[in-house]
């Protein structure tokens, strides 16, 4: 079984997605089935991560024994669909499967009153398939196909509550933004195929010679994935989508966003990694987009009154930290002295922030979903005094808010600490903007805490009670992860993050499998 792990990572949730509609008449069975499938995929991703950490890059070819299979004509380039899984791919796969499981658990109660749940869970599993395909594949066209699967499933889920006009509008917006980005990705893939006659990323990264056509392809891929990951000023779809999507889907949709960030990193480091004269420029573009993203995101969050919209702007803001951390690493990628002095740690901070942010932002969006579940509104002006009524949600919110604001000893602090210090070494202004953003983040969450949870109990909420147990359990699991990742950052960094960083930096390792010509 172990040798077919990469295929199972796709096959299991895909099987789950196609069989879930069979539970149309027993919708809670659809929820349980989705839980079983997401739990099984989570187990598989843990095994996959262990395999990659122990044995190095896994190359899996669909329909052949070896990746080096050549055509009878002697055409000696890899053919067929190839998955190439290194530590960063396995890390992203673990994030996707963990959040899909947590999302399915939370959804069990959160959407139980909705209709069409068999479609909801089928789409959740399809979204998981799309993300997993994006982070595991070694083939550019495959990346496009899975990007499309994730985009279509994601937009259907954003518009799931189609009895609300806003949800339908957000779903259509997400669909069109995804389609435009995918179209441009496909166009760049076409350019590269026209140039080199192949779409395998490891092969392409060896062949690429950075003429004008290649640079156009790089530019289009870069901007398209930057829009899909919500980078400012192409972030407008994020608040629409994150606000309207049911809170149980928020964790998986977050990972889908970061699968695009992963694709951006993969394109920058692996596909175009050998580029030397331009890489510092790409790194600076990424860093500047990062600080713009974090600052504009947080200042927009401060003025929001809709609790989920506020948190969605924070999701944009936090993406800026990831772009900044990895951007700093990319800027000094071809300067070995600076790379070892602070570049590698900067990238570790950026990638560590991905998992940290996925955990605490999912937690916060779930607490927002819990507030909506009990009050029926997302308007903070209409909330107040809920801490006494919802003690577990309150604790979960405090942990999430402290983590996102970078307060020690929660997980957000550890990654931000690395990002502040390393970005300061590239340019102090970058670190100052990052720190100011954290202060504003804290201010924004103090506002949410004061207006929703503190204050005297309101008469209209006299009879509200804590949310059902599955929702509480999902939130508590994430709150515990926030604390554990904050208390043991070293363990996470050494076991998970630095191998992922090295997978991005060591281009030769990515290119070296299977005796490529």
């Amino acid at each position: 079984m172990m040798e077919h792990l990469p295929a199972l990572m796709i096959a299991v949730p895909l099987f789950g997605a196609f069989t879930t509609p069979l539970f149309k008449k027993r919708q809670n069975m659809a929820a349980i089935w989705a839980l079983v499938i997401t739990a099984a995929t989570l187990g598989l991703s843990l095994l996959l991560l262990q395999e990659v950490l122990n044995k190095g890059i896994i190359v899996y070819v669909f329909g052949a024994n070896k990746p080096t299979l050549v055509l009878p004509s002697g055409y000696r380039v890899p053919v067929r669909i190839i998955f190439e899984i290194d530590a960063i791919g396995a890390f992203m796969a673990l994030s996707a499967t963990l959040m899909s499981f947590i999302g399915a658990l939370y959804s069990y109660s959160h959407v139980e009153m909705e209709t069409g749940l068999e479609k909801y869970y089928a789409l959740l599993l399809l979204l998981e398939v799309g993300i997993l395909g994006m982070v595991l594949t070694g083939d550019l066209f495959n990346l496009f196909v899975f990007l499309e699967i994730a985009g279509i499933a994601g937009s259907a889920l954003v518009g799931f509550r189609n009895y609300r006009g806003e949800a339908s509008e957000a779903g259509v917006k997400y669909l069109i933004v995804s389609a435009v980005a995918s179209l441009m990705v496909l166009f760049s893939i076409g350019l590269l195929y026209g140039q080199y006659g192949n779409l395998n990323m490891a092969y392409l990264s060896k062949q690429i010679h950075f003429d004008t056509v290649d640079m156009i392809a790089l530019g289009l891929l870069f901007v398209s994935f930057a829009m899909k990951c919500g980078s400012v000023p192409m972030h407008y779809w994020v608040p629409d989508a994150y606000t309207e999507v049911p809170a149980g889907i928020n964790p998986t949709l977050l990972v889908a966003t970061y699968a695009s960030l992963y694709a951006l990193f993969r394109v920058s480091f692996s596909l175009f990694g050998a580029i030397t004269w331009n890489m510092a420029r790409v790194g600076w573009i990424m860093s500047i987009l990062g600080v713009l993203t974090m600052f504009i995101g947080v200042t927009m969050a401060l003025v929001q009154k809709d609790v989920k919209r506020l948190m969605s702007y924070h999701a944009i803001s936090q993406t800026g930290y990831m772009l900044l951390g990895v951007g700093v690493g990319l800027t000094v990628l071809n300067d070995p002295a600076k790379l070892s002095a602070f570049g590698r740690a900067a990238m570790a901070g950026g990638i560590f922030h991905i998992i940290n942010h996925i955990i605490y932002k999912s937690l916060l969006l779930m607490t927002a979903g819990a507030l909506f579940y009990v009050t029926g509104t997302r308007n903070l002006n209409e909330m107040g005094g809920l801490a006494r009524k919802m003690p577990y949600t309150t604790i979960a919110f405090i942990v999430g808010a402290a983590a996102i604001s970078g307060i020690p000893p929660f997980n957000g602090f550890a990654s931000k600490f690395l990002i502040y210090e390393t970005s300061y070494q590239l340019n102090p202004l970058l670190a100052i903007i990052a720190m100011v953003t954290s202060v504003l983040t804290l201010a924004s969450f103090v506002k949410v805490f004061a207006s929703a949870f503190l204050g005297p109990p309101l008469e209209k909420y006299e009879n509200v009670r804590e949310v059902p147990k599955p929702m509480v359990v999902a939130m508590i699991i994430l709150a515990i992860l926030c604390i554990l990742f904050g208390l043991f950052p070293n363990v996470v960094l050494n076991k998970l993050i630095y191998p992922a960083v090295d997978a991005l930096i060591k281009l030769a390792q990515y290119q070296s499998w299977g005796g490529l010509v």
Binding site: V180, M234, Y236, V282, P408, P409, S451, P456
Partner: protein, 113 residues
């Protein structure tokens, strides 16, 4: 198990932080426990004195989210005018921003800068 996170020019030890947190927690508790012992919850004592006027309803006196940071937002009014103008909610603008940024990035990468 090593708890210390080493960074390029420093370190971070969460256990040390926890020890300080517990220490300050104890100090805080000592101060709290020395407070006025005559305080009793849910009695007349805790009701606000409003010169003999009746206490308004909680809904009327609560500080709403829209009121928090009012001064800050007023001070940055011009910045927010620009930001709000950018956030039109119009899908065509979303795509225009994408095309604009795409053009700038291509200009930088293809050799314009």
């Amino acid at each position: 198990m090593n708890f210390t996170l080493l960074s390029p020019s420093g370190f971070w030890d969460p256990v040390l932080w926890l020890i300080f947190l517990i220490l300050f927690g104890i100090i805080g508790y000592i101060i709290y426990s020395r407070g006025n012992p005559s305080y009793k919850q849910n009695t007349e004592q805790v009701k606000p004195y409003l010169s003999g006027n009746a206490e308004p309803s909680k809904e009327k006196i609560m500080v709403r989210a829209g009121d928090i940071y009012w001064g800050f937002i007023e001070a940055l009014d011009e910045y927010y005018v620009v930001l709000k103008r950018m956030h039109t909610g119009d899908l065509r603008d979303y795509i225009l921003w994408y095309l604009g940024i795409g053009a700038i990035v291509l200009f930088i990468l293809v050799g314009g800068v």
